[in-house]
């Protein structure tokens, strides 16, 4: 154990020093170049290592994944579109897609709404209470999905009727006279998926609150004052004056949460591993890769996921360009 700690510290030290030496060398190489070539080449040398990491870990694998998605489970022979057609025709994968869609519809909206409510309401408390309440809401961001699984395991815990319930939710409803419920196994109306979504909302609302709070505080006071003088009530002020001015941030939070939701894996993996019709795309990918050892199907799932993110990517790039031109 001591050895591992020592190793870690040495790695950090060596890694950082190696990076410095690398850049010193790259810089020297540029300086050896004649005249104007030094300034022409230097920027590319500065971004080279970072770009190498991006190309090796994102760009090249993206291309390779597309290739694998047209090959068989061991990537030894071409199978054309078979991976795609088999997946899309299988009922279980259709359910998986539908569940993922449910997550995408429900979670981002709730996260934005609750985050905004928290941002606006906490803003009216005195500073000490504001910061305390915000820290409490924000805290779950620091907790891993596995940790959240432990936390919420104690909320959703189920024991058969007649035994004392140690799960909070069942303790409450049995105290009210109802029968205990195995929450994560209730497939009607995808209720169990909603209980998993609550875990993600619990983790994400803090993020939404922090960004929206910054935006709400940025709304110029005189616009609120003017509305008040015109006799607008608080509700009108919120929806007609505040919301339009923070709309950009609302969209940003929405899009960011949406991307996270599309990739959701760990909560589902830890709580149900996709059982009881709670499967999502991320979990299905993992199971295809590590339970079925099917590279082709796993790659096809990723390609579909990647295609689904393309519109968001275009939106982000356009958004960025617009902001840059305004700055």
């Amino acid at each position: 154990m001591v050895l591992k700690i020592l190793n870690t510290l040495i790695t950090v030290g060596v890694g950082v020093i190696a990076a410095v030496v690398l850049y010193w060398l790259l810089n020297k190489i540029a300086e050896l170049l004649p005249g104007p070539w030094e300034d022409r080449i230097k920027p590319y040398l500065y971004i080279l290592p970072a770009y190498a990491a991006l190309v090796f870990y994102l760009v090249y694998p993206a291309v390779q994944t597309v290739v694998f998605s047209f090959a068989n489970a061991q990537s030894t022979a071409w199978v054309g579109w078979d991976n795609y057609t088999q997946l899309l025709q299988s009922e279980s994968f259709q359910d998986t897609l539908f569940n993922t869609l449910l997550w995408m519809i429900v979670v981002p909206v709730v996260v934005v709404a609750l985050g905004l409510a928290m941002a606006v309401l906490a803003d009216r408390l005195n500073p000490r209470w504001e910061s305390t309440s915000k820290t409490i809401i924000f805290l779950p961001m620091a907790i891993s999905a596995v940790g959240a699984g432990v936390v919420w395991g104690l909320v959703y815990n189920y024991r058969p009727e007649g035994r004392e319930q140690i799960g909070l939710q069942n303790a409450i409803i049995t105290a009210l006279g109802f029968d205990p419920v195995a929450w994560l196994q209730v497939t009607e109306f995808h209720i169990n998926s909603f209980f998993l979504m609550i875990m993600l909302m619990w983790a994400q609302v803090g993020f939404s609150m922090v960004l929206l709070s910054a935006a709400v505080k940025g709304v110029p006071e005189d616009t609120l004052e003017a509305a008040r003088i015109d006799g607008a009530n608080e509700r009108d002020i919120f929806f007609r004056v505040v919301v339009p001015q923070i709309w950009g941030t609302v969209l940003t939070v929405y899009v960011t949460t949406l991307i996270g939701v599309m990739k959701i894996f760990d909560i589902v993996y830890v709580m149900t591993n996709g059982g009881f019709n709670t499967n999502v795309v991320g979990n299905e990918f993992f199971n295809q890769l590590f339970s079925n050892f099917n590279n082709g199907a796993a790659a096809a799932i990723v390609v579909m996921l990647m295609l689904a993110t393309v519109p968001i990517m275009i939106y982000q790039v356009r958004n960025f360009r617009r902001e840059e031109s305004m700055a």
């Binding site: 510290l9 950090v12 994102l58 805290l139 950009g248 940003t252 996270g260 990739k263 993992f286």
Partner: protein, 306 residues
């Protein structure tokens, strides 16, 4: 957790916050409605964590027979609370080793990419070269790319190189996956530094290399810290990358160990699972609470990580 973070819009909230502080105590003060709603939300948010915390100190029989809330009206059970579960989880469930493994994964994966990203961000901010805009927009679009695309091809390469299951395998993966966000955060921050200062350094005969190390890097410390906290929390809490590139075994990080050695074992019992859960959370929570200000700045200046 899910790596969803951050934004592009709310660029500099700190200054805006200061501007508005004069509003305190003015119109629309906290009504009962606001107070009650905030109180209820905070209560709902914190109660599950309290449950975990209290359960982790209860002996096996207590934890398995009654709910943690019964502690509030059965003082006789208080004397049975102890740290035994933590000792068992740390040693027998091997969370102690996993804790060190996680540090061994997270620290290099946090600190090594910073300099690499900072150099790229410097070039994108302060140097003129053909293709600059295109190359940076490529970084922006890579922010959204899900890291799932890397797993199948990289895993094959790692198997060929016999890297799978080792620390360098995860370090490099996290460095690659975190790079676009790092460049993005740092470049956005550097763009706010006064250009005149860099110009005058140039006139004084400083090379880019000197300007970077003596001027820009020290001035960018807030952004470097923001990214470092971000990346640290992300790597510490990561399950997917760890499962794929390390897996269970001697090098397993704490998320994997907690899932496989405790949660996945029917006989482990809530008393051990909660103690293990708390061990896995304590460090990120401490980092988070102490560095919250930097973290918020990172969130509001950053982007969307893939």
């Amino acid at each position: 957790m899910t790596s969803t973070q951050t934004t592009m819009a709310a660029a500099t909230p700190t200054e805006k916050t200061r501007r508005r502080s004069s509003r305190e105590g003015q119109p629309q003060k906290a009504g009962w409605f606001a107070r009650i709603v905030v109180l209820i939300l905070c209560f709902l948010w914190i109660v599950p964590v309290v449950g975990l915390f209290l359960t982790s100190f209860r002996p096996r029989d207590d934890a398995n027979s009654t709910g943690w809330w019964t502690l509030f009206w059965t003082p006789s059970a208080w004397s049975r609370l102890s740290f035994d579960n933590y000792v068992t989880a740390w040693n027998d469930a091997e969370l102690g080793i996993a804790f060190v493994n996680t540090l061994a994964i997270a620290l290099p994966a946090t600190f090594i990419p910073i300099l690499v990203a900072a150099f790229a961000a410097y070039a994108f901010t302060f140097m003129e070269f053909p293709g600059r805009n295109f190359l940076f927009l490529a970084v922006v679009s890579l922010l959204v790319v899900p890291n799932y695309i890397a797993f199948v091809p990289i895993l094959r390469i790692y198997s060929d190189l016999e890297l799978a299951g080792t620390f360098p395998a995860v370090w490099l993966a996290h460095i690659g996956f975190g790079m676009s966000l790092a460049i993005y955060i740092l470049r956005n921050y550097m763009a706010t530094l006064p250009k005149s200062l860099i110009e005058s350094a140039k006139i004084d005969g400083a090379s880019h290399f000197q300007t970077f190390f003596r001027l820009v890097l020290p001035m960018s410390v807030p952004a470097l810290a923001a990214f470092a906290i971000f990346q640290f929390l992300w790597v510490w809490n990561d399950l997917l990358v760890a499962l794929i590139f390390v897996g269970p075994g001697d090098n397993a990080p704490i998320t994997v160990a907690l899932r496989n050695n405790l949660m996945g074992q029917a006989g482990a019992g809530q008393h051990l699972v909660t103690a293990g859960g708390f061990i896995s959370m304590i460090l990120p929570i401490v980092v988070f609470l102490f560095m919250q200000r930097f973290f918020v700045r990172g969130l509001t200046a950053g982007a969307v990580k893939g």
